[in-house]
């Protein structure tokens, strides 16, 4: 896995808006490469995590598990990422993520990000901003189109959104896996 600025920029363009080349050069060494085999689990739903995983190569599968049931949601392709919620606020992973193909990833933990921001606060702010834009967009689109409010704190899925909106499952995937969703 050769991680160069050029190769990184090609894959993760949305992340790099407002980040200059020096900031990027100093971000790369803080990313930890890892490889996982097909079928191997990266994240387990409910387990504590504190890292963002950028998908350099391969493919990931996102699923949510309930009592006696596993629901496959979406696939994640190269150039996307999972785990940004846990990077920003470490906590339980909201879905199970496994490799649907042999995959190469770059990991950034909240500790790594903290250290990076001390030296390159502009770069760190740029990255957080890019992730925030993504999250904000998802909250906005899913909140309105998928849920209808039934009394205080009671929500029901809009049935019509299931049939007419092919993107419904994309929404679900985005929110559950979520940070792991197909963008």
């Amino acid at each position: 896995m050769t991680i160069t600025s050029t190769e990184f920029k090609k894959r993760f363009t949305p992340l790099l808006e407002k980040m200059d080349s020096t900031e990027l050069e100093h971000l790369l060494p803080r990313l930890s490469p890892l490889e996982i085999a097909e079928g191997e689990q990266l994240l387990k739903m409910g387990e504590h995590s504190d890292s963002l995983y950028l998908l350099w190569e391969g493919q990931l599968s996102v699923e949510i598990t309930g009592p006696g049931q596993t629901l496959h949601l979406v696939l994640i392709d190269e150039g996307k990422w999972v785990g940004e919620y846990c990077l920003i606020e470490p906590g339980p992973a909201s879905a199970t993520v496994r490799a649907s193909r042999e995959s190469k990833l770059l990991k950034l933990s909240s500790e790594d990000l903290d250290q990076y921001h001390r030296e390159y606060p502009g770069g760190a702010a740029a990255m957080i901003r890019a992730l925030s834009l993504d999250i904000a967009g998802r909250i906005r689109s899913v909140g309105r189109s998928v849920l209808s409010h039934v009394g205080d704190s009671e929500y029901r899925l809009k049935k019509e959104s299931l049939r007419e909106d092919r993107g419904f499952l994309a929404f679900m995937g985005k929110l559950f896996g979520a940070e792991e969703g197909k963008h």
């Binding site: 949510i64 957080i128 929110l175």
Partner: protein, 144 residues
């Protein structure tokens, strides 16, 4: 950032309108409401208290306000307009990072909350064949 005292009923954000400031509650409570799609009135989504921020999403993505935020009683609120945020961002990178991080963390909390709501809604709906619908939609989704 400017701090002010606002009486009950004061409107900070209006659903559907463009806004360019974000707010931090110092004292008091703010009601967050959304119009009912059917057109009859609005519903309360949540109440925001001291230490919490609101008006975030529109500040970041320059979209229209997704909800109406109104003082639920006497309040003391700090507001930060977009222009000041942009200036801060350019001049003080450390501060920009800290602020951006605060915004991101609030978004993550909101998103996790929507996650939870969706998850519960899905579980409830299983009685009405939703779990049958989902895999078939997934299959449909996968065919491209």
């Amino acid at each position: 950032m400017s701090i002010g005292d606002y009486p009950e009923g004061h409107l900070f954000t209006e659903e559907g309108k463009y806004g360019n400031a974000m707010y931090l509650v110092i004292e008091g409570e703010v009601s967050v409401t959304q119009r009912n799609p059917e057109g009859n009135g609005s519903r309360l989504l949540k109440k925001i208290g001291p230490g919490e921020v609101f008006g975030l999403i529109a500040l970041i993505d320059h979209g229209s306000r997704s909800a109406t935020c109104q003082a639920a009683g006497p309040t003391r609120i700090a507001s930060l307009p977009q222009s000041a945020f942009s200036l801060l961002y350019r001049l003080h990178a450390h501060l920009a990072y800290r602020f951006q991080y605060l915004v991101a963390r609030q978004l993550v909390r909101d998103a996790r909350n929507v996650n939870r709501i969706l998850y519960e809604a899905v579980r409830k709906e299983k009685k009405s064949n939703l779990s049958d619908d989902l895999p078939s939609i997934y299959t449909e989704y996968r065919v491209d």
